[in-house]
């Protein structure tokens, strides 16, 4: 087993699946829009054009305007930035914490393992969205607390996903060899075991991003995520409900954006799983 991630081979195999290629394209488009929102959007996302309230899509306002005369297209692009910030930070935190705990549990075994994993099991006793809701309810609404809630809810999944492969890897000869020549435990975990458990982690990260995106949007929809006037796809959809008969265009684009983003990460995750999991490969 080699100690490095075979990135090149992954890429080639991912592109062999058309659906995974589509997923990658959607994810890249999402990243591009999120990073370049400031350059691409024609107006400021919070600038109010008092004379142009509730305009249907036209050549000046591509996706129309909302009840304050704000350009929906610009809000949509900046919504991607906010969504990306929350989802990536939350998933990064969940990956780091969950994987660390899962690796320690799997590597140490015994009582530590039991204690960590039973603690993680507790989080599985809640419907995920409900636990996130409870945390945000206690801490108060806002992007920072949304990040925390998503990270806490997803951490146990990374602990579970990383623990299993650690158990299998730590019994291998090269780990025993490393231990014999006196390599210390943290180094064994980082240099010898971690590179061999990355495959399931990468798949999980992609699926976690899709879930985090949906959760951020849900919490914002319920008025508990990103605070107004900052644009968020979830709160844009929530705002559209009051004016649904008057300005139906407000309800279309944010939902479509969420769906494409989630679809992208799902397809990419499925493709990565096919490419990385030898058992599923045809």
């Amino acid at each position: 087993m080699r100690g490095r991630i075979p990135i090149l081979r992954i890429r080639l195999r991912v592109f062999r699946h058309p659906s995974a290629g589509l997923g990658l394209a959607l994810v890249l488009a999402y990243l591009l829009v999120a990073v370049l929102a400031g350059v691409l959007s024609p107006y400021s996302p919070i600038e109010q054009h008092a004379a142009d309230r509730l305009q249907a899509p036209n050549s000046r306002y591509l996706l129309g305007t909302d009840e304050f005369g704000r350009d929906i297209f610009s809000r949509l692009l900046h919504g991607a930035t906010n969504s990306l910030r929350v989802t990536t930070v939350a998933v990064a935190a969940a990956t780091l914490l969950g994987t660390t705990l899962g690796m320690i549990a799997g590597y140490t075994g015994g009582l530590t393992d039991n204690a960590i994993m039973r603690l993680m099991d507790l989080f599985f006793a809640f419907p995920a969205i409900l636990l996130a809701l409870a945390i945000v309810a206690a801490l108060g609404p806002g992007a920072g607390n949304t990040i925390l809630a998503i990270a806490v809810v997803y951490m146990p999944i990374f602990a579970r996903v990383s623990r299993g492969p650690v158990l299998a890897t730590k019994a291998m000869e090269f780990v025993t060899a490393a231990r014999c020549i006196g390599v210390n435990h943290p180094r064994i975990l980082l240099r010898h075991i971690l590179p061999n458990i990355t495959a399931p982690l990468i798949v999980q990260v992609s699926l976690a991003l899709s879930w985090a995106m949906l959760t951020e949007a849900s919490l914002s929809f319920l008025g508990l995520g990103t605070r107004p006037p900052e644009p968020s796809w979830g709160s844009m959809l929530s705002d559209s409900r009051r004016l649904i008969e008057l300005a139906p265009w407000m309800a279309v684009s944010p939902g479509f954006a969420i769906m494409l983003g989630v679809l992208g990460f799902n397809l990419l995750g499925d493709g990565l799983r096919d490419a990385l999991d030898p058992r599923l490969r045809k």
Partner: protein, 317 residues
Amino acid sequence: MRRFLIQRLLAFVPTLVGISIVVFLVMRLIPGDTISAMIGTQYKLTEAQAAALRAYFGLDKPLPEQYLIWLTAALRGDFGYSVRSGQPVLPEILNRFPLTLELALLAMMIALAIGLPLGVVSAVKRDSLIDLSGRLFALIGLALPNFWLGTLLILVLSVVFQTLPNSGDYTDLLEDPLANLKQMLFPAITLGFAFSASILRATRSSLLEELQQDYARTARGKGLRERRVIAGHCLKNALIPIITIAGVEMGYLFGGAVIVEEIFTLPGIGRLLLNAISQRDYAVVQGTIMFIAFNFVLINLLADLAYAFVNPRIRYD
């Protein structure tokens, strides 16, 4: 089988204790002073008044003691009183629960009615046009946020049919079943749509696996028609794992109901929770979350037992 039953039932108790600890601790995450968070910042309390309230709610005691007091009360069915209405929490939850349960059950029925047959056809006609459209449906279903689907349904209803699903008060199922089902239909579709997609996927992959098993080959080898092989042999085995999935999803439907009840303004426990969150009515928030988590764990337990019951490999163990 008996050992399995005992094991599962024994695991149920520590899980409940665990979730009660999590719920209790999460509610103690409230930043700053709980009393002023509850009362609101518009009222200025003197230090003595705040201390009196803190003593009244038992907030001056150490955390473990507070937890034990709360837990023993909760075990007696006392989840405290709503700060807003002054009413006890549990009766209010039980009063609203039937609606949420009905919504989840209807959603599950819709999900099974769509997902199971499509999944079977997709597996049997693998790589056909039907299979491809089934898989496309599943992909979209899993990516479609339920709050967007709900909003779009309301949009279509209001613009095309000039009617809103919930213009008017909620009608109880026992009062007028037809009017009630009319009100619940679109919320149930909204809630069940994503789950029909995951049921479809699970049914398809489970049946595909069974169709490749040795016993399926034997059945074909002895001259059975493919239809009999599928319906008589493979389908039975393929549906066993679906029970587990349906059970887990049923639990998640309670989480999703929070959003769907909000969109369609249905007075279930989801909206009770959201209203309590916005009014900072922490006893209600705590009680509602505990109640939903309890049901979530209970349904998972029932699904496990049902799985063991229909799966001969566990039954005869």
